[in-house]
Amino acid sequence: MKKRKRMLSAALAAAMCVSLLAGCGAGGGSADSGDGEKVTIKILSHWSEGANEESDIALQMFDDFMEENPDIIIENEAVMGDEIRDVVATRIAAGETPDIWQFGCRGSLVDFYNSGILGDLSSSYFAKSGKVSLDNYTQATLDGVSVDDVVCAVPKYKAVGVFMCNSELFEKYNLDYPETWEEFLHCGEVFRENGITPTNIGSKGGNPSHFWHSELINQYNAGVTDIENLSTNLDFTSEAFVKAAERCQEMRDKGMFSDDVTATGDWDPSIAYYNEGLSAMCYTFSFAFEGISDEMVEKSVIIPVPELPDAERDTSTFMQGTVNECYAVNQESMEKKEEAMIKVLDLISHDLILECAKKGLLVSVDSSIQDQVDLSRLESPMLKKALEYHEEHQTEASPMVWQNLPAASLQADYQSYLDELWSGAINADEFTEKCQKMCDDYKSQQG
């Protein structure tokens, strides 16, 4: 009896460990049809009270909107960062698919599109919207929110990339801004000798390393098409990909990254690293500009990414920075609550973006909105500086590896392997091998 009791207690205690996952019951996605006469639109977003200026504007707009449209209730639920992917997945599993959610582009949308949760928005939204038109977006932007050439999400904003140098440190060590790879490595050597980390490019969860990796691949003509075709051919062994991985390894070996690449990885730590004067060069994007002080903006000089010795493209003409986020729209909600959905989508895709773009909180991918933005009146000095640079050089957005990977699992693995490459856990060959294996496994799973 005692023995049985002991066994039972051990089994029950251990059983607690797995009850975690089972809470996610399967269920079909369904849209809330509203509360009586009223229609409820559920949004999963990054907008939480007091989080940032964009959030405050959005939440105020929702209140005003609901006053003007008493028959529509907007239920906004804030979820921070990439956690939104987890929350959406569990909501769908529980049969509580939100109507609209803020999401990553392209590859992030594939699973949802293939399962029928996302659908063609060309006719259901864009053709009927009074404020947003497909004609206002570039093809590259639309590609970012399309799966199988079907536009299944509404583009939100674009990430504006910069590579910049701390002019004070360059002057102090009598260095010119690097144009070539050799000059870049030489600057790194000088900074290292003087106890300064050359760049702020760390890698935690593949940030910001995956942007840099794509930046290097794009220096080759074939690299551009290799990335564009990645979603279908899933090839990590092309010459451009291999060379880019080798250059990343070279940077690591020559001390171009911080010592502790995980600690300086991800956006906020990497920008703080540069802002504190611990690194001489900075590679970052507009969503991290808030972390750069005005003093550092003044010291910073934006330059093109240094050219690789065998680069085939002029790096002053392109940079990472395509559509970075979108609104994923539940197709079922679009059918059941069309009028309310269109109104709310117009509010968050046009009115909100216009307001934020005018304040310099983001850069719209909608040309009709961006045309209304007066650069000279932007409140963010860093964004102003970045936009002036891109306007002067007429830079184009270059394709991104991460966005072109067709599944969340591939994106997560790719980011994880970049962390390993950056930290020295694997070399460039092993990185290529692991990435290719993940692609081959995915292909075989897809049949």
Binding site: L21, A26, G28, D260, A263
Partner: protein, 294 residues
Amino acid sequence: MSHLRKHKGKAFLGFVVPTLILYTVFVIVSIAISFYYSLTDWNAITPPVFAGFKNYRNLLRDTDFWIVIMNTIKQLAVVLLTSVPLGLVFSYLIFRTRKMFKVYRFVAFLPVILSASAVSLMFTLVFNGDFGPVNSVLSFLGLEELRQNWLSDPNIVLFTVMVPMVYQSTAITTIISLAGIQMVPDDVLESAMIDGASSVRMFVNIVVPMVKNITFTNIILMTSNVFKSFEHSYVMTWGGPGVRSSYLSVYLYQESFQKLNFGKGSAVAIIVLSFALLFSVLFNGVRRFRNRED
């Protein structure tokens, strides 16, 4: 007599059945559902598709999974070899303290009430290889060669993320052991003191054997904590680089929620259950054996 038995039966039904129902629904059924999901291909978006033991086969072939298993076992070894004995030693030191006993007890308990995420964040800054105080102190002491990339070096990072776990676990074992030591009869300790036993001898020959069962409780508790541990690794390094600092629960999270492989994630959950069962049975077996020997 039969009247009493009848009432006992009713009381049994009244107290046990509701709990049994809740436990069955929320634990047993959940485990059964998890097991079913572990036999499917499921991304949480489309309906699950039965795939047999494919997820388990894939896990066994996955080198990352084996790294994670080894990480978890190493963590278990480190926590058991440090937190349990240290807790016992600290609790004895506090017990022997005549002045400010309550203050020391409170200080020892402090790490338990701090959130694991907050503690992990603190240690992230402490171990920052570029400007963290650990490397700064090493440099200050002229021990430059001991400076490490604590959060990035694949050979070290696992042990770095174990530090906050050990820190908090030791606080738990200290408090539990202290409660055990306080139950040791005063006359036993007083007799030993009168006989001239030193503090160390009293600890080794009286306290340790008399709190043996408490120590086993600590071992079981720490084992269960290790299999559940998530925050320290995830907050400090996201389990990286790669999976170098991932434990089973971090790996489960990554597979289920980041990669949307809920089938594979459920298979990991079932494996965690199996490990927890295995170790519980193992430690209970050791305890029974020791008790029989005594």
